[in-house]
Symmetry: C2
Subunit: 152 residues, 2 copies
């Protein structure tokens, strides 16, 4: 299991903040660190139930916020209605390319664009260190679909 380090960090964070180590928290942690894509709360809940855990929806939401507070999970709206969550993995900061139609998410890394983002943030008095970046477009499938069947 490659998330041993993060799991330990999570447990430390819980202890040092006077939070308790519960089965629900560990199960949720394990689930989101097993997922290698962007998932929403409902998907996590369903996956946990499928594995026999008796966790509730409210607990999933509450503890996702906790994981975000620990800095172990990223929570973001990627154009869609729902929040998407992803566990944070080691070094490389990536950004997101999102299909506006089907919601598909692709990660990308582009040093050049990162430098430009920083510059734009700086130019407008925004923090260059807290930026996050999204390109919303249409994936090939959805372009094809919209050409076959125009929207009106």
């Amino acid at each position: 299991m490659s998330s041993q380090r993060e799991r330990a960090a999570f447990i430390d964070h819980l202890k040092s903040h006077g939070h308790r180590i519960t089965g629900e928290r560990l199960a949720l942690f394990d689930e989101i660190f097993e997922q290698h894509r962007h998932v929403d709360a409902e998907e996590l809940l369903a996956a946990l139930h499928r594995k026999g855990h008796r966790i509730s929806r409210a607990t999933v939401y509450r503890n996702l916020d906790l994981l975000v507070a620990c800095g172990l999970v990223r929570k973001q709206r990627l154009g869609q209605r729902r929040y998407l969550y992803e566990h944070i993995h080691a070094g490389q900061k990536h950004d997101h390319l999102v299909c506006r139609s089907c919601g598909r998410v692709v990660e990308f890394v582009s040093p050049g664009i990162t430098a430009m983002q920083r510059e734009i943030c700086r130019a407008h008095g925004f923090s260059p260190d807290h930026h996050q970046f999204q390109i919303l477009s249409l994936c090939a499938e959805c372009v094809a679909a919209s050409e076959t069947q125009p929207s009106h």
Copy 2:
């Protein structure tokens, strides 16, 4: 009134699509073309009521979608829960810098970054022509606030 051309285009669109020209539609059109910032449905509704129009929330939503279908209004989620609307003005395509904390929106134009976006879209099989681009960060005020009063 600088939106005469668009107003005429709207009326033409209505006629040519068998839609009716109603007071509510024209009032909503005028309101969103008077606003020079990103507004949400609730703000538009409130502004219309303030001016004495008796339009309902449902009608605002329905006709905002219509304006989007005409290509006169842009509807997007900029990180926040609500959709934001802006009327489309003449030539320059701009992108958005959004404060993740207070929701403040700044428009920017950057030819260099546009070229890079296109390249990233192309590299991942997304449509370079339908892209839209957001940088989510923290504005100076919110950075200052979070330093004075850390989140926990």
